[in-house]
Symmetry: C2
Subunit: 163 residues, 2 copies
């Protein structure tokens, strides 16, 4: 189930910025305010959209299932918090809203991290690897942490017992 | 193609330590010396096998393709270096040898990081996430870095141009 959003996904569709370019981020437009990614915040608050005139999602090698593995790391401490998946639309929403959006494989729906729990993630940097098949999102983490168990990081268990 | 190894994979097979347990790491055994994971090092050097009597690979939720996403992070700086995939055998080799082993989906073979390039990774900690479907390996990184391009990290490109 896709959430009701105010406009269709435009991933891969060149924007007005020029052929082959997707203009990401920038000031919110009127049609973003109704049902768009920004709404997950209510007030935009600490969100900083990633503005990149040359951003080209075609650098990202989404898999056969349309997804790319995404690592979320805390910006200040560099702790790895979680791993999840994005499709092109979730990545676009993440860049535009400054909040983390993922695709849930189990629930088959988009989710904005912290929207239910309050443990929001505020995007500070979005990188991608040499093959374009992994994304790294550095965030400021709100609340208790990233894990649904209440742990700061999902990686709270380790072989050798030093978790 | 699997590399020639001196003994069959025993992933998921309980070892002598007790039912349902897999004994990982520990002192090298005679049969490990011929063709086993330790050989990738020649001399064991800085390798520190992860010794965990209770380690249970059944905590790891390998996907339908038998693989688990693995994030490699530099132990000292906490920089995220790369993302790759392990199957149970690659994870077992990683824990036992103290070097990072992966499964290459493109080449359909095991690889030990740095074995060709010299950019070896020495395992310091292996964690896994709440769902068991992602592994985090903290390493000391040898040589130029983790990326085949010569970059320190594979995540050298960022949206917004701050890569």
């Amino acid at each position: 189930m896709s959430p009701a959003i105010g406009r269709p996904a435009r991933s891969g569709v060149p924007a007005a910025g020029g052929p082959g370019r997707i203009v990401l981020g920038g000031p919110p437009r009127a049609d973003d305010r109704a049902g768009g990614p920004g709404d997950a915040d209510g007030p935009v608050g600490r969100a900083r959209p990633v503005v990149d005139e040359a951003a080209d999602l075609s650098d990202i090698a989404f898999g056969p299932d349309g997804l790319v593995v995404t690592v979320v790391q805390e910006f200040a401490t560099r702790e790895v918090l979680m791993v999840a998946h994005m499709d092109a639309e979730a990545l676009r929403r993440t860049l535009e809203s400054g909040r983390t959006w993922f695709w849930s494989r189990s629930r088959q729906e988009y989710w904005c991290k912290g929207e239910t729990s309050g443990d929001r993630q505020w995007v500070r940097k979005v990188s991608y690897d040499c093959d374009g098949d992994a994304v790294l999102v550095e965030v400021e983490q709100d609340g208790r942490g990233a894990c649904h168990t209440g742990a700061r990081t999902c990686f709270y268990r380790a072989f050798g017992g030093e978790g």
